[in-house]
Subunit: 226 residues, 2 copies
């Protein structure tokens, strides 16, 4: 028999702990509009949380255009500019700080793993009150492939010193859930990124909550004890 | 046997013909933040398309606050201000103008029925190229109750001179689909407002398309012929 394992929680950041998904969506839309690329907003929403590289590749396929390296660099800079103009107003999602404090107090390992770079993630981590010097935070800069590849979550589990196959990946997007499956972790979905329950369940969520407050209220359902 | 009826199409506006749902969402969020009310963005997204009165009632229930008439008036003005700042950049959704032109050319009756007031709907109707003097457009100002009540769609069918029970209500939100059921029309859902296929189907959509272009490509599936 396999020894009992301590459950750990590996959190996505945008839309899972902080209320920033819609800001990212419109920042991408404004950036694309500025370089003359027309894409419906809902298609951008459905791609948020993916690696930026895969995001622009998917976009190129959908719009039938080739993006030069120069355009890609410009898009990234414009997105950072427009997102930055809103990100100081970003709020932690309800219960986010309480949930992380509960886990810390109960010595349950947790980490944050985000497809964002430290440049955009840094300011919202500060708003959330998470210090990457004291907590395990894996950003896109630290791994070769971002979501839906499992690398971010694998790196987070390794840095925590926990086994990924006893971890829960907590996220709001189907990319988190697909990455969870590829990592052989369990997926927990949140509605707080704006996707529907069924989308999260179909992409592998074994449980769906509204947001961190809702999960904290039901923490016993998903192994939240020492 | 009931006589064969001409199918007519009653369209929602925001998120169905024009790409404005996310602008409305963030305009509401900015307005609420300005008066000190904190609500997660996804909860606003899930309420867009509802009557403004029901929207603020639901919000009051969810946040456990009472909103005075003064606050409600201020919220409406702030939303109009923030939405207005973005609405000149709104684009028709792919295929919207082609779909309406196809219906007109084929003498298939169509109308627009929106929970928005003419003040916010006017500018985007202009971008869409629809003139309320020449086409049937029912705005919130013209009926007592907006969606999910069926009044807007009933008024649209009546003004077209068609039977609501042979009409299709085309919209992106579950409020459109619920209103369609209450009116005994068939509901056609679009993904272009950012909701998932299953949400639309569960609220009554008998068919779901990505956007107007996708419906136009499959118009024979839903009675699009004279």
């Amino acid at each position: 028999m396999k020894a009992r394992q301590q459950t750990s929680f590996l959190f996505d950041l945008d839309g899972t702990l902080v209320d920033s998904v819609y800001d990212h969506v419109l920042a991408w839309h404004d950036a694309l509009q500025e370089v003359g690329i027309e894409v419906s907003v809902w298609r951008l929403h459905r791609r948020i949380g993916m690696s930026g590289g895969l995001f622009t590749k998917a976009l190129a396929r959908e719009t039938g255009q080739e993006f030069s390296a120069g355009i890609l660099e410009k898009l990234r800079a414009l997105h950072a500019k427009y997102y930055g103009a809103r990100s100081m107003r970003t709020r932690p999602l309800p219960g986010a700080q309480e949930l992380l404090a509960y886990l810390t107090d109960n010595k349950i390992p947790w980490a944050i793993a985000t497809s964002g770079r430290i440049e955009t993630a840094g300011p919202v981590l500060k708003i959330l009150g998470v210090d990457p010097a004291k907590n395990v935070v894996i950003t896109r800069d630290l791994v070769r492939y971002a979501k839906p590849d499992p690398d971010l979550f694998l790196a987070a589990a390794e840095k925590l010193g926990t086994d990924i196959t006893s971890a829960c990946v907590v996220g709001d997007s189907i990319w988190d859930m697909l990455a969870a499956q590829r990592a052989r972790a369990l997926g927990i979905g949140y509605l707080s990124g704006g996707y529907g329950t069924e989308e999260l369940e179909r992409s592998g969520a074994y449980r769906v909550y509204e947001d961190p407050a809702d999960m904290l209220a039901h923490i016993d359902e998903v192994g939240g004890r020492r």
